[in-house]
Amino acid sequence: MRTLVQTLLASGFFGRNTPYDLVAAIAVFVLSAAVFLGVAFPFAGIVSWVERRVWARIQSRVGPNRVGPNGFLQWLADGVKHVCKEDIVPTDADPVLFKMAPYLVVLAFVLPWAVMPFSSALILADLNVGILYMTAVTAITVVGVLMAGWASNDKWSLIGGIRSAAQIVSYEIPAGLSIFPVVLMTGTLSMQGIIRAQGWAPQHWFLFANPFTFVAANILFISALAEGNRTPFDLPEAESELVAGFATEYSGMRYLFFFMAEWGNLFIIGAIIATLFLGGWQFPRVSNNPVVMNVLELITFNVKVLFLVFVSMWVRGTLPRVRIDQLMTLCWKYFVPIAFANMIGTAIWVAIWPEGNPVAGYIMFAAGIVVAIVFIRRVVFYAKRSQMELYYYPTI
Amino acid sequence: MEALAIYQRLAEQFGDRILETVSKKPDPFCVVDPAAIVEVAQYLHDDPELAMDCLSNQSGVDYKDRIEVVYHLFSYSHRHGAVLKVKLPRENPAVRTVESVWKSANWMEREIFDLLGVTFDGHSDLRRILLPEDWVGYPLRKDFVEPLEYHGISTVRESPILRLDPKAK
């Protein structure tokens, strides 16, 4: 890219006396934008299709299966449909804020991709405040949602926006506090630094490093679901209560933006958890070829993230929605104190074993396997009791 | 307690304010003086041997020469029922509300007011319930004529068969 820019400069393509830095900066912007458009948006679309299929399976339905193989291109069809629709701005709405709100929400969804650690080399910018940056920019959503709620000039939208603001601001605290234990253990905020501090094997993940990080991971996951407006915390867009919450008055592309951001946020939630607690892209060193290693790491990272995305879909298909007071009680009466206790616990743990306790990892991992086995046995028990015909094939 | 025994008891208690007892099958009923309906209702509700704790059904009937309001009472504790009626004139029918005795009368009286035009004096919230606020007339009266249009919406419809088959015209 450097040579390309230099050649273009020398040929006078940008006119005379154009500084190199400016052109390079522009080129990087354009390329990054291409990456976002090429990776982030299709990803959000594909997640919407996956979610609908997974959800349909949970609900014993078929789900979209008409456009493309197994309905895979449904997201494209929906996207095209939404873009072609009329963009309605209500007469009494504040047009500037109303139109701007979806862009802010999309912005909050796009910015975190800058520090997304796909593999040891594939990262746009390994900021030394990476995780802090991540939590900071995802919180921009609240501004967009609040703007949408207020500018719509609709009371249902307003309630949705206010709910969202209260929810995101509240859950930012336990989420932030749950990142702390990991930062305490690694001494860095960089995404790559945190991943490098872990190993590829589960007993070296921070999830199993000590009991406090395990709790922190769970709190972070639940808080992230709440920040992403996912069931069971989808109060801002609770359609049985608030019609469509803050998005009630939106139509066409702007409506799509909100939901694209929601599905894209799933990936970001998964990426944060995978980075902090599941060893990120860590993969056993099977080859010395950096390309092979990077591909393997990319796959590892994505598998971990997609598993977490799947869990969040699974949760959405299973749980009902909590009430606003229960939501706040959960956050302020349970999560915040527990997260604080976790932080202190981790600090003590780190003071005792500055290099980490290797035995704890094995014990915790073994306990995790026992829990998983108990869970699977329960699922099998219920499946047998219901005497339903089970359908195992991945597609219909 | 049998319905007729209840009416007997009512007649003893209220004398000539119980106008008539009709023992016709299948449902015997007794006709009460409209002025005394609340006292009778309160008595039926409060008397421990009658204990009519539920106003099961309240409806109005237009008999062309009069309008009757019918009260179907029921007692959950004694498992017996009674039917009371009040006869009202067709012009400006009005009777006192029994809302103070049974809360369920609130909505049922609103419905009777809405569809038959009986005014319930002392009712806390006497508005139209099923029909729009600006509807004219009381549809369940026998002489009700449906208006041809409501706010510019026609209430008559050309038969689709006529539209399909021009010869049928």
Binding site: W55, L319, S386 | D27, H72, Y76, N106, M108
Partner: protein, 372 residues
């Protein structure tokens, strides 16, 4: 801080709101998330069915009764049939009564499934809804085989039912019940004992027993308040005395007696009881005709009667006045939803907006039944 000015917000909920079952409207006065009051406004589905009855005659009104409550149309059929039979003194053949009970109890299960399914959906869980609808579809298939319709059945006639059970139907129905009982268990495991679900329902919209009676609540709503009252048991009609079944009542074990969770659980348990009744009815099915001889030009003697049917939404009262002609002089239906709607204004005070949705769902109101 005391000078901080607050303002109440007036919200218009409905008639196109997604969680008002049918078309209802509430005018909600709210202080943030907490409601001061929700004033119901009904009538959007008013079709003047009572007036139609005066114009179409006794037999002709039967299809219209389906529309009184299209979710459990068998009971409205049965109510109208029973009222006419009582007026004219017609005896329904025993097999006809059995067919009625079988159809009605299947319809009760279907109606309760829809009720608990939409309730779960209103709470935000989408999966139980589709599972409930899946089971309801199977019942609809069975009933379709029975009478050719899936929603507005028009199965019953004055003096019996329109069609006898088709050949092989009994076995299919029994096979369905064998399939259904474990499904109910699965449904409980899926949603009924979910912690969030219980938290959302318990202690919401608590109705005291005497309030329930005074407001004329009926059916599952009344039983959830601890009043053990079921028309099928206490004023037996049809062939219900032949069957053994329990009347489930609210226990208050999740919160307060008479809260939304009790109403929900009463419906779940009633489905199991209906299944029990159905098994007995299908086993004891007597031979014979299903329809009594009723003249085509049906003219009951002048008089009036009221009958009460235990519909899925509770005690449904039909008050019919006959003047001896072929057309009823006056028909009045008193339905469970109408009474349940009357208490919402009182119950809504101090609830949260999300609880209003729970409350409507737990009272199982169906808009056409309120408005008729």
């Amino acid at each position: 801080m005391n000078t901080l000015r607050t303002e109440e917000m007036t919200l218009n909920m409905g008639p196109q709101h997604p969680s008002t079952h049918g078309v209802l409207r509430f005018i909600v006065r709210a202080d943030g998330e907490v409601m001061r009051e929700a004033v119901p406004d009904v009538g959007y589905l008013h079709r003047s069915i009572e007036k139609i009855a005066e114009k179409v005659g006794y037999h002709g009104f039967m299809p219209y009764t389906d529309r009184v409550d299209y979710v459990c149309a068998m009971f409205t059929n049965q109510g109208w049939g029973m009222a006419c039979e009582k007026l004219a003194g017609i005896e329904v053949p025993r097999r006809g009564e059995y067919c009625r009970v079988i159809a009605a109890e299947f319809n009760r299960i279907a109606s309760h499934l829809l009720s608990v399914g939409t309730m779960a959906m209103d709470i935000g869980a989408m999966t139980p809804f589709t599972h409930a609808i899946r089971e309801r579809e199977m019942i609809n298939d069975l009933i379709e085989e029975l009478c050719g319709a899936r929603l507005t059945f028009n199965y019953m006639r004055i003096g019996g039912v329109g069609f006898d059970l088709p050949p092989g139907w009994r076995e299919k129905a029994l096979a369905y019940l064998d399939h259904f009982d474990p499904i109910l268990e699965e449904y409980n495991a899926l949603i009924s004992y979910n912690k969030i679900y219980i938290e959302r329902l318990a202690n919401v919209g608590v109705i005291a027993a005497d309030d329930a009676v005074n407001y004329n609540l009926v059916g599952p709503n009344l039983r959830a308040c601890g009043v053990k009252w079921d028309i099928r048991k206490d004023i037996p009609y049809s062939v219900y005395p032949d069957f053994e079944f329990e009347v489930p009542i609210g226990s208050g074990q999740w919160g307060t007696l008479g809260d939304a969770m009790d109403r929900y659980m009463v419906r779940i348990r009633e489905m199991a009881e209906s299944s029990k009744i159905l098994r007995q009815a299908l086993k004891q099915l007597p031979p014979g005709s299903v329809l009594a001889k009723v003249p085509r030009n049906f003219k009951p003697p002048a008089g009036e009667c009221q009958i009460r049917v235990e519909s899925a939404r509770g005690d449904m009262g039909w008050y019919v006045v006959s003047d001896g002609t072929a057309f009823p002089w006056r028909v009045h239906v008193r339905t469970g939803s109408f009474a349940a709607m009357g208490i919402t204004q009182k119950l809504s005070r101090g609830l949260m907006i999300a609880d209003l949705v729970t409350l409507i769902a737990s009272l199982d109101v169906i808009a056409p039944e309120i408005d008729r």
